[in-house]
Amino acid sequence: MNSSAAFKTPQAVRVENVTRHYPMGEGLIRAVDGISLAIEPGEFVALLGQSGSGKSTLLNLLAGLDRPTSGSVVVHGRDLAKMSSEELARYRRNDVGMVFQAFHLIPSMTITENVELPMRFAEVERTERAQRSRESLERVGLGKRMEHRPSQLSGGEQQRVSLARALANRPALLLADEPTGNLDSRTGEDILNLIRDISLSLGMTVVMVTHERALAERFAQRLVFLADGKLVSEEVRA
């Protein structure tokens, strides 16, 4: 363990000198270029930056969807860089929930089926699956629309379903990639309120990528600014 860690409790996320480079023709794209970051359990962190700043790449590294070129990404004491792809899948299934800008619901499935999908991968038993998906959907205020298809819902409602799905396996870490990007400002605020409330009531760590500074300032406890794959500055809110 890093002796410089001054905290008693283990950090939820510790990113150390992580890089992610892509070959592009002759050259190399340094999407993430040596970022170190520590996030406490229960913290709500916003990653901000222009497009191409590396914030989404960093989020994908935290999600275990991508692997760093170098450095380590330690979540709850486990280094994602050292996991097999099978272990990463298990990590994504049990430890993280993800919310996307484009919602990424499966259009052919009902809302309930969408929320149940991660539990299918986790081999959660059928009756428990039904109960947990109902709980999740009630938590996001969609308890009455369980048999609807995503196309029958508004954008905000779809994002709530996406959130309910992210919560299905009760993860300790919620990753949100521009969750309000496809929503009008009021609906976006509603979603972030929901995320914050859930984070507080469940003690869940939240990392959100956004380019809307105003929203980030309202909801996040800490703002992390990225540019050209590097961490530029941090701002802690009250």
Binding site: N60, D66, S85, E86, R90, I106, P118, F121, E178
Partner: protein, 461 residues
Amino acid sequence: MTGYDLLELAVRNLRQSKLRNGLTTVGISVGVASLVAMLSLGVGLQQLATRRLAGSGMFDTVFVTSRQDFRGFDKEDDQKAPQPEKSPVLDEAARVKMSQLKNVTEVEPEIRVMGEIVSGGETHFGFVTGLPMSARENEAFDTLTGKFFSSDNADEAILLQDFAKELNPKNPSELIGREISLRYGERQALSQDSGDRPQALGGETNSSGGAANGDDFGFSVVRRVQKLRVVGLVDSEPYGGMRTVSRGRIFLPVGTTERLNMAQFTDMRSSLRGASGKTYMTLTVRVKDPAKVSAVQDAINQMGYRTFSVLDATKSLRRFFTVLDLFLGIFGSLALAVATLAIINTLVMAVLERRREIGVMKAIGASDSDVKKLFFTEAGAMGFFGGLLGIALGFAIGKAINIGTGIYLKQHQLPPEPVWIMPVWLIGAAIAFSIVVSLLAGLYPASRAAKLDPVQTLKYE
């Protein structure tokens, strides 16, 4: 993911693009149907051939000859046997011994002699053969007019329909119950000391001391007439015309022919033997069950005799059908091979279309193997449903073939016969084969889906 969940997801995915997956499934079913139709045709033809042979009543019969006489059907077999001069003769003792073998029901000589029926001042020539009582079960007697022999020793005759027409062109069935006179040659054995013994040259007759009881010391042929009652008329020759005793026009119980001592051509050979007692050229051994034929054959071979059974002949027949089935199978598989390409195509399309969905599934916790299994299951499900449909389609094709050949046979005044038979094993095998082939076809698309990079697929466009 559990198997049930996999199946549920796979089926729901297949239902998403009903037309495309439906067409692919129909493609598989056409492949399976052609395979099934071809193989069933092979099975049907084989059963048809076997049925013909079995109906001939030859399958449960072993023909026994002495190695001293002639040569056998199988030259190799003759060569590995003991020298002919040291082989035993087929005599009464051998006949008794064979009849005591396990599973043997009858041991009868094959008797076929010339005879003449005297009727209304005309004489009608015909071969007379002796039939065992077991001939009753032969298919030729299925359409018997009248009755079969009352006993193995009765003075009764069954006539071939054609011969009966010769005797009574207007109404052959009138002959049933009537008496006919059969003129035949009786073999009268000469004993060594009998007065009518012809003068032998030199000391030859004296040296054949083994014929002391005189039976086959020599014989003369004497014309006899025997009254026989016609009990039945038979349409076709028994044993499919394939045995010596089939080729006759007048059939008597074999016991009667023996009792009457009818002279046969082969008696000449017997008289040369100089052995004691009566000998036979051929004995026909009937076995309880065709499956036991080869065991009985072995036992008789052990006794030093030469044997032949239709089983030997069917070996090459079976080899022929194995090759035929193989070729039919290969032709039938061609359509299935095309269907395999259709599966690959459909699934590759599905992978392309569902890139985003696959990415989402991975992002929310599906492993590479989950994705792979899902596509495999989809391929397998298409194979299963294609197999089921193919069986139904193949069945319909087969029915059509049977109806078609039935009409054709009827036009040629032949009884209808199924040439297309779908055995149960083929149904199971076809579905299993269809699934296996589909899974193989799913290998490439499934691994392609599993390798998709979720980051790329989830990029917001």
